[in-house]
Amino acid sequence: MAAAPAAPGTPVTPADRRGLGGRARRRIQNGWVFVLMVGVAIVMLYPFYYLLNNAFRTQGQFDQQRGHSLHSWSQLFQELPAGRELANSALICVASIAIILVVSTTAGFAFAKLRFRGSGTVFLLVVAALMVPLQSIIIPEYVNLAKLGLINTYLGAILVYAALGTPFATFLMATYYRGISDDLIEAAVMDGLGYERTFLRIALPLSLPAIATVAVLQFIQIWDDLLVALLFLPNPGQRTITYGLAALSAGRTTTIPVLMAGSFLSAVPAIVVYLIFQRYLIRGLTLGMGK
């Protein structure tokens, strides 16, 4: 449906007539766009600058806003078992994401390619669980897991995170598998692979980009979470770094530079993951829109 090409010899359009003048004006406009983009970038980056700048100060230097030192870092490691908490966060993230990936790839494949009677309804119910706010179910969830003795265990928090991540991950994987041709799956099954092995050998390797998207989205979500950790891992030994930091801040005895150092430390892993995998993160967001 392209516009009809201009016949040779047609009079020039107003846009053409602008010629050089238009180009110069466009360059000036681009300059303004650039300046505005830099302005927004300063607003977005300032907090990170503030974090870094003040993490390397003593309280005295912070009050003066002058000079730098490593003092608050050694202070941080005295007040916060940061190594332990980073390891806790990593363990919980990896285990939760592993569970989410297993159940969402299998279920996504089943809902997309192995339809059975009622599978559409079941799929809708799973995805509808996305609308349940965590706060609405957190109280019964807490009591249930307490009855099972899972408070203060990694397993309890891992299960909650895994359940919370599953609806969206399943939706995303199903969307992705729908894009794989039915013929390919049927051919593999006819070749005697069986549905389970067709999933493992054919579909799963094809869905690596979607798997990466789920993993990155969930990593950032779980790493940054406070509420679940706060309730399900109250014991200092099991705390995640995000919770440890919030607890440190709630204590009101820690100096601001130490808090800034802790903030920086807790933010780095998620930022690194973001910088490396940002295109998967963006894809996840747009897939969420059903694009």
Binding site: A3, T13, P14, N30, V33, F34, M37, V40, A41, M44, Y50, V102, V103, A107, F111, L114, F116, L125, V126, M131, V132, P133, L134, Q135, S136, I137, I138, I139, P140, N144, L159, A162, L164, T166, V189, G194, Y195, E196, I220, W223, D224, D225, L226, L227, L230, L231, L245, A246, A250, S263, S266, A267, A270, Y274, Q278, L281, L285, T286, M289, K291
Partner: protein
């Protein structure tokens, strides 16, 4: 299916073609049975997990919302718990905070629309800036809240900037006043949503037909006119999507931010419904009341979701 299947099976069994068809039919149905079994088997773990850890607690929350419950023993009261809770002035004070937070939504959507329009000019370096703007999405609300607290503090950057431009008389400790603390919270929220919403709109703008924009340009429309008359109407569904995401975040994702910045205070100045649920249950031990507020939050979310669905269905035919 075809006529052949309706005929008695034994009638022309000698014809090879017929036998072949039957073989294929039973083979296919056996395959279909296997497929059904595999489908159920593979979807089971996800279904069990969602039902056990998300579905059942919703039912429990409804039940416990009609009891007085301290987490160990519960006494059945009935639906009257809702009328009791709805006449509690503190509940309405909390809901008022949620309502006021909605006033931040136009900013949380409008500013990213502008930023996306800037990036969409594809001026040199726009990809870098896109990464920078999206960066806060990776950072926890705990960290954001901690820096924001410093920003709004009496000796923080905001007050320093006010002094620098000769408005020292306006210096305030925003987090110390009920309304001003809520405003500070809202500003931090808007800042945090900029990246996400910008990416949504940028994605939307990438789907626009460039010939349409070129046509508008040839017609002599300037950039502003093109944006408001051509781009924005075409982005409607993306605006709707970001609206829902933003409302959901405002009502159910700010727990950590409130926890770190204000703990819900001063007074109930920054206690939103989601924070109130936590406070009721885990600070005051009123698990039943907490569950009740949880159900109210859930209902609000469903209403937002349904309104969104309605908008898409009625105006967009195909949906997405």
């Amino acid at each position: 299916m075809s006529l052949t299947e309706a005929e008695p099976a034994g009638a022309v069994s000698g014809v090879p073609r017929r036998g072949n068809t039957r073989w294929r039919a039973t083979g296919r149905s056996r395959l279909a049975a296997r497929r059904r079994r595999a489908g159920i088997l593979l979807s089971l773990p996800a279904v069990v997990m969602v039902v056990a850890l998300l579905g059942v607690p919703v039912g429990q929350a409804v039940y416990y919302s009609m009891t007085t419950w301290n987490g160990i023993s519960s006494t059945w009261i009935g639906p009257s718990t809702y009328s009791t809770a709805l006449t509690d002035p503190i509940f309405w004070r909390v809901l008022e905070n949620n309502g006021l937070l909605l006033l931040a939504i136009p900013f949380a959507i409008g500013i990213p629309l502008g930023i996306a329009a800037l990036l969409n000019e594809h001026v040199r370096g726009w990809r870098f800036f896109r990464s920078v703007y999206f960066l806060p999405t990776a950072v926890s609300w705990v960290v954001i809240g901690m820096v924001a607290t410093q920003f709004f503090a009496l000796n923080g950057l905001m007050n320093k900037m006010l002094s620098a431009v000769g408005l020292a008389s306006l210096r305030t400790d925003m987090l110390a006043g009920q309304r001003s603390a809520l405003i500070a919270l809202a500003i931090t929220f808007v800042w945090s949503m900029l990246g996400t919403n910008t990416i949504i709109f940028l994605t939307g703008m990438a789907t626009l037909d460039p010939t349409l924009l070129e046509a508008a340009r040839v017609d002599g429309l300037n950039r502003r006119q093109i944006f408001f008359r051509v781009t924005l109407p075409l982005l409607k569904r993306f605006v709707q999507f970001s609206f829902v995401i933003t409302v959901i975040s405002a009502f159910s994702a700010l727990f950590s931010l409130i926890f770190v910045m204000t703990s819900g205070g001063p007074g109930f100045g920054t206690t939103t419904l989601e924070f109130f649920i936590y406070q009721s249950a885990f600070s005051n031990g009123a698990f039943g009341t907490g569950a009740l507020y949880g159900i109210i939050l859930f209902v609000i979310m469903i209403v937002v979701g349904l309104v969104q669905l309605r908008l898409i269905r009625s105006e967009d035919g195909e949906g997405w």
